[in-house]
Amino acid sequence: MPLSRVPQFREDLAFASIVAGAPVASTDWQRAAAVQNWVAGRGRQVIPTFCPDVPDLEAPSNTYRFALYVLPSYPTIDLVAMVSRSDVVSVLPGVVQTPSPVALSASPRSSYGTTAIQVQLDVAVDVRDEEIHSIAVYEIPRARIEQTASAGGIDTSALGAGQPITIASVDALRDAVADDTFGARVLAAHAVPWSKDGGSTSSTEYATASTSATYAAVVGGSGVPVLARKKRTTDTTRTVKARCYGWVTGATTGQFRVTSSSQGSSSAVSFTNTTPAWSSEITDLLVDCEDLSTATGLQSATWDELTVESRRSAGAGNVYVAGWIVYE
């Protein structure tokens, strides 16, 4: 499979020199192709860094398991999880904890694709109680990517000087840009332990529990900043997706809901599984998108914030939520 180099740095184009009546220089086409290779191959932050919304994790000899929903870029091979933690006894106040890598069985991947990877991240707490300062997962950029529509790699040599630039020549570039999964953002994600014995049994110690028929915020879900990518020129909003990691007891139906403060958009999904699992997908949540003409990208002075909630909608049991994700 032919591979295209992924540049370490992106380039810009001088549109002032691309004018009607003059040919477009092959160097401009090649530069644009390199930028597309950069977008497709630089890797994404698939779990934005978060501090779990939990008190200290208790010792001794517990293995806390966090569920993370990772949506990889098609050409990604390696994923890295980073966790920072400290015990609550011996660490001096004010001493920052440096994140360390945690092995992921899902990396390196054995095939390309965008199918979600349901990661289970274990944190062993052996001797002293510990606090978790951060969890993050990112993709290691590729050095070269495949010249296929799925991978998004463009053959820059096909756009060289002396060749007629036909629509066939630039079709791959046009198609790649139309597929805006390249560079897609995960807007927010959160997880707390759903098990303290490494996954053999679920634990309700840290998950949000609800028996109420009224929505209440779940872990890490009370006013989370959000700002999505802008797609079309006149867009001020973007439709995004969400899932939760939850379960119920007995013949109960749980509901998970995400609300956008700016748009007033709200969408919910139901689940009835009695063992922890990722819910089906909310697909129609409307949030603010960037305004590229402002210094901050905000549509107004007020940030759009997400409220993430759960409730019991039917039955008489408990509803538990131990994680969620909002993504484009």
Partner: protein
């Protein structure tokens, strides 16, 4: 500093795309603008959380007027613009002070190869490497920072470049890949006159790459 012509993707009519037609300049400008917009908006959300107040990161600031590094992200991959500067990070910080007194907070960004100590250099420089806010309230709130974005020092590539081993392709040979990374740090100090038991509480942080206006 959007680098596209239209600050968004423009649609093209597939039926008009005949494989053997020449590409005129108008078509070219549309395609090339779309590529640049795709790159402009490819900035990622590096940090985003908001926890309940009771679960905030809590650090006692023993010494007055001394910056304490209280939180650090991992060295996360970042993007550089075509002019060689990093994509600025759009930042928010939710915090409070723990006991009576006033606490100054700072958020800064340093190269991924650097240790936390480099954060003190960023604090000494101030904007655009670091932005600050002050809180004398025990009630958690998103603070009004002295700026809305931070970005790496110009010429910071030497401090950001990381080389890692990866695979050339799935199941392929091992090879090295170079990329740039940065750490987002949060510092706090108590102002003179505040109690030695004054603590800094951090309950939310947002840092996302943005191409800039």
């Amino acid at each position: 500093m959007s680098t596209s012509l239209f600050e968004g993707l423009i649609r093209s009519e597939a039926a008009q795309w005949d494989a053997y037609s020449p590409v005129d300049t108008a078509w070219a400008r549309g395609i090339l603008s779309n590529v640049m917009h795709s790159a402009d908006s490819s900035g990622q959300v590096l940090v985003n959380y908001r926890v309940n107040d009771a679960n905030a990161i809590d650090r006692v600031l023993t010494q007055a007027s001394t910056w304490y590094a209280i939180w650090s992200s991992a060295a996360l991959p970042i993007r550089f613009r075509g002019d060689g500067t990093s994509y600025p990070l759009r930042v928010r910080l939710r915090a409070a002070r723990g006991t009576a007194g006033t606490v100054d907070f700072a958020v800064c960004v340093i190269g991924g190869r650097l240790t936390t100590d480099a954060g003190y250099d960023a604090l000494a420089v101030g904007a655009p490497l670091a932005i600050t806010a002050s809180s004398s309230s025990g009630t958690h709130a998103w603070l009004t920072l002295s700026g809305s974005t931070i970005n790496l020092a110009a010429g910071g590539v030497a401090s950001t470049e990381i080389e890692r081993s990866t695979l050339a392709e799935i199941g392929g040979a091992a090879m090295a890949v170079r990329y740039d990374a940065a750490k987002v740090l949060v510092f706090a100090k108590r102002e003179a006159g505040s109690s030695a038991s004054t603590s800094a509480l951090v309950s939310g942080l947002h840092a996302a790459e943005y191409i800039g206006a």
